[in-house]
Structure formats: C-alpha cells, structure tokens
Subunit: 206 residues, 2 copies
Amino acid sequence: MPRQQRRPPAARVEERHRGARGQILNAAWQLAAERGLTGWSLSELGAAVGMRAPSLYVYFASKDAIYDELFAQGCRDLLGVLRQVIAQGTTPAERFREGSRAFVEFAVAHPARLQLLFLRVIPSFIPSEGSYALAIEITQLLTDNLRQLGVTDDAAADLWTATLTGLATQQVSNEPGGRRWARLVDRASAAFLATTTQAHSPTPEE
Amino acid sequence: MPRQQRRPPAARVEERHRGARGQILNAAWQLAAERGLTGWSLSELGAAVGMRAPSLYVYFASKDAIYDELFAQGCRDLLGVLRQVIAQGTTPAERFREGSRAFVEFAVAHPARLQLLFLRVIPSFIPSEGSYALAIEITQLLTDNLRQLGVTDDAAADLWTATLTGLATQQVSNEPGGRRWARLVDRASAAFLATTTQAHSPTPEE
DNA sequence: GTCTATAAATGGATAGAC
DNA sequence: GTCTATCCATTTATAGAC
C-alpha cells in the first residue's frame, strides 16, 4: 500500500486551487475593464496576482481557456442579477421593465462583459459548449419573461435583445461612463410593450 | 537651377501613390472580412498586395493610420449608400424606412465596417478628428431624416441608432450570414414610427 | 519605391530545476 | 506550485543598400 499520510488532503488542495483560479479571473476582469478585453497579456495577468506567466498554466490550459471561464462567469453573473430582479417584480410588466433595466445597467457597468458575451470581439475565441449554454439561458430568461406578457413571438424577443444590446453598446462605445443611451431603456421598454402587446396590426415581413 | 527634366511629373507620382494606397486598403478590407478586424498583420497585408511589410510604411505611418483610413473610407461608403437611398425615397416615411434598411444591410454585409465604425473593438485605436467627423455625419443624416418626419427629439434619434446597430450586431455576432435579426428592420421601423410620431404620451424618464 | 536585414519588443507556451 | 530559462513565432517599425 503506498504511503500517503503526509500528503495534504485532496479536498484541501482542490480548494486552494479553486481559490487561485478565482483570483486570476478577478484580476483578468480588472485588466479587461482597464485596458479592454484584449488589451492585456498573460505576463501582465500573472503580475497582477503575484505570479509569473508560466505559473498560470497550472490553473488554465491556455489564454482562450481563461476567456472561456470569464465568459461562463459573466453569464452566471448576469443570470444571477436578472433572476434576482425578476423575482422581485410583482407583475409581468414590472418584471419585464426591471429586467430590461438591469440588463442595460449590467452591460454599461461592465463593458468587457458585454463585449465578451454579446459581441464577437476576439477572432480566435469561441465559447465552449457548456459556456454557450449559459448564454442561451440569458436569452431564454428574456423570452420566458416576454411569454408571461403574452408575447409569444420569437421575432419580438429577438428585436428586444437587439434593442437592449444596442443601447448598451452605443453607450459604451460612444460615451463611456455617461447615461445618454442607458437612460432610454424605460422609454424603449414602454414603446416595445405598446406596439407588441396591444392591438397589434401585424406588420408584414419583407 | 536644379535639373529636373528626367524626374517624372509630381502629379504622376502622386497618382501612383494614391493607387497603391487604395490597393492596400482594399486588401485590408478583405483580410478584415476573412479573419476579423484585428486578425491580420502588416506582413500579411503586404503579402496580399505583393509587398513586404516594411514597404507599407511608404504609404502609411503606422497600422493605426491604416485603421484610421479604413474608418474614414467606411464612413464615406456608408454615407454614399445612405444618401443614394434617401434621395430615391419620395416621402419622409419612405426615406426613413429605406434608409434604416440600407443601414442594417450595409452593416450585415460588412461586419468589419460595423465593428470599426460603431463598436470599440481595437483598444489602441482612436479615430482622428477628421475621420470621426465623418462618423458624426452619419448620425446627423439619420437625425435630419427623423426631423423631416416631425421627430425633433434627440433621445428618439439615439434610440433609433441603438436599435439599428443592435440588430446588425446581434445578426453578425450570433448568426453570421443569416437573416434572423436583419429581417426585423422593417418591423422595427414601423413600431418606432408608430410610437414616436403618433399621439405620444411622453414616457417619464427615470 | 522596394528590398534585405534587423531592431526591439512581445506574444503564448513548454521544459525542467527546485 | 512556482520559478528561471528558453523556444519559437510574430509583432510593429527603422536603417540603409539597390
């Protein structure tokens, strides 16, 4: 029987491992916020957590693997925010309005997350299957929300995601830190609901 | 008096120079379309026009200078398309609808132009004053278009640019080559006009 | 105006000592 | 698990021959 009494318990090791991974991801978010999603290197990331670049490979297989974990984490963050906000709403309309507002606020507060999750900014990076499934959950949440309002039209849901990401993107791209577009989300929600739910003469598609 | 009878006329030289610059920019657009806006290097660009990388510096001061020229060119392209489409419209409403459609079609057909003009994808690149002025002209054109419809609200114009870029961005990011979001532009135009022009109970801003 | 050569730096990633 | 050292590819950019 191999001796293993002096080896620390595997659970402890894994816990520390996860802790370090978390630190690295936090530092990556910070660098992405400061210099853009692609504006940092592995050596800079290592320095940010008191490591050299090669040590990062103990925790991640590649830089794209880090992006993939950031992608998944960003999805979970947004899902958490949206679920919380939606849970607080008392009516479907309120849930819709507050959910939409939360989406834009999240994206504007975290431009790097917006770029990573909803824009194709990194040519080499494609999210893994598991990470992408989380992104689907976000739009799913939005679609369910609309269904509760009686909006079962998939096209309407698509138009709404486009509007929300559009507002956030314009805000972040043209006036970072401002509110020029972000403040329009309530107005957009109201207009969207007005044209989608009430007596709608279905516009003929092209 | 210095002899200069054997030197080719300056006009000829400049003409060739401009021709080469044009070739380089065309090749850059093609590379950007194939591999993403940032997915190519100067040596690849040089090879595409039968040059080595250093020779490109005869025509452009830096890679960012190339991006700046691409930015300006993209603006002029889009302005040309929009002006032509708008000129063909017979009523303000038709000009609005067709202009909106043309905007999205342009962006979907040229994702790299969309990224360069409306998204902040390259951390290091900031358009020059002259190039940015062209970008302003685009939104100006849109604003004027709306004014002809009696929409003088700046916020409405902002909401509309966000919607258009949002549709294009979602299309390009999530389903490149498809029509899922692009086909919604007419529906969005109609909804926007319905809520903005007709008896509008002004939604209170937050 | 184009080239070779090269600078000067940086990138991501691996090997192996400790 | 972290390091040094290093690989190898690649980058933008410059100098100088032709």
